[in-house]
Amino acid sequence: MGLLLFGVAKDIAGAALVGLPETVTNVAELKQWLYDRYPAMQQLSSLMIAVNREYATDTQIIRAGDEVAVIPPVSGG
């Protein structure tokens, strides 16, 4: 499973695409995994997660082969 990172999430992780362990099976677990691996992401109060290009809530299942994206808000203008 590939995880696409945008904005400051990409900066924190230092990569636009990172691998996701198979132990992550839903969005809530994904967020916990992100927070553990990248503590700075805990500071992001709003963090959109999308699974297969659809906005996903915490209970959304993540399956092998899904495309998962992490999209923080950006404020620049």
Binding site: V8, S46, M48, Y55, A69, G76, G77
Partner: protein, 361 residues
């Protein structure tokens, strides 16, 4: 109508859509990086009435992306300059200047007078205020935002569609690293995103094509990657009836973690103050370049070697670009360190601003 000949002869547009543009009123919030192209093209295409909310003056650092302003305009108000030049482009439309920042006191009054709102602001406080006011006033909101080389676009609150809060429910709190306004941007990025915003405005007004309702379009201009994400309206976000008491401007500080510019760091080091400088980069990065005064402990080892640091003395944390150091600094604050500073921009900023002989990577 000769002026709009290329649009009136355009299949699927024609005089009837042109008349809709000319009957429409659009409020553009911000006449900066995004606002300039939005204003230029909406003016050129013949929107009947264009309101501009802006209270800033032109600074030299605006000029790499805000192409409506001249070098000689530095220090002058953007609003008057924009209004004058836009009228020279098209004297047949009405420009309404709103010489203010958008606030909880004026937002509903200003927004209420327009058909469509375009968010070209540059901070979260205004973005959430604009969203909420548009929901209350029932106005479609054409959203654009930029970060480094990336842009986001959507059309919120349009025909029952999703709002900004349906994607990002809560405004970032003061101190989240998202709002540090000085991260930099490539000059042409707001040009691209602003032009897309102007295009969405036309679609909303005329009904042509498919506006980005219930969709978030992300554009990565480094790799020309365009992704469209479907978003779902959340009823509660569509039912806001009053503005929040305040829409706090977030700033670049995290709790007790403070910010330190590389210039300030240089000053401290030169003064020989009792500053601990902690470099948390990996070994191979350290090899490429480092500051001789720094203590080097890679990020993953800091917590295990925290006893090497003095919790009462000032401590500045440094990494490549200021991101890892922020996470480490935050953790040290939580552990009781009293004066922790994050070196904004990291050693890269140092190389750019202080020491152009330093090798970058």
């Amino acid at each position: 109508m000769q002026r709009y000949d290329r649009q009136t002869r355009l299949e699927g547009f024609g005089p009837e859509k042109q008349r809709l543009l000319q009957a429409a009123s659009v409020l553009v919030i911000g006449a900066g990086g995004l606002g300039v192209p939005v204003l230029q093209y909406l003016t050129a295409m013949g929107i009947g009435k264009i309101g501009i909310v802006e209270h800033d003056t032109v600074s030299v650092t605006n000029l790499q992306r805000q192409v409506l302003y001249y070098t000689a305009d530095q220090g002058k108000p953007k609003l008057a300059l924009a209004a004058t030049r836009l009228q020279q482009l098209n004297p047949e439309i009405q420009i309404v200047p709103h010489d203010t920042w958008l606030t909880t006191d004026n937002a509903l009054d200003i927004i209420g007078a327009y058909d469509v709102v375009v968010d070209c602001s540059d901070n979260f406080g205004t973005r959430y205020l604009v969203n909420d006011a548009c929901v209350i006033a029932g106005k479609p909101l054409v959203y654009g935002a930029i970060y480094k080389y990336e842009g986001q676009l959507s059309v919120f609150n349009y025909q029952g569609g999703a709002t900004y809060r349906c994607i990002f429910p809560d405004a970032p709190e003061s101190g989240e690293m998202l709002n540090c306004s000085e991260i930099g941007v490539l000059g042409v990025l707001p040009g691209i995103i602003g032009c897309y915003q102007a295009n969405e405005v036309v679609k909303v007004i005329t009904g042509i094509g498919t506006p980005l309702k219930n969709q978030l379009l992300t554009i990565d201009t480094l790799h020309n990657t365009h992704l469209t994400f479907n978003i779902t309206p959340v009823a509660a976000n569509q039912q806001i009836t009053r503005l929040a008491d305040n829409y706090q401007q977030t700033v670049c500080e995290v709790n007790n973690l403070q910010s330190l510019s590389v210039e300030e760091l240089q000053q401290w080091l030169q003064q020989g103050d009792a500053l601990q400088l902690l470099d948390v980069r990996e070994d191979d990065e350290w090899e490429i370049c480092h500051l001789p005064q720094a203590i080097h402990i890679p990020m993953g080892q800091v917590l295990g070697r925290v006893s090497a640091l003095q919790p009462e003395a000032p401590l500045a944390v440094l990494c490549h670009h200021g991101m890892r150091s922020r996470a480490v600094g935050q953790r040290l604050v939580e552990m009781g360190f009293k004066q922790v500073y994050n070196v904004e921009g990291g050693i890269h900023a140092w190389a750019c601003a202080i020491d152009d002989q330093m090798q970058t990577y």
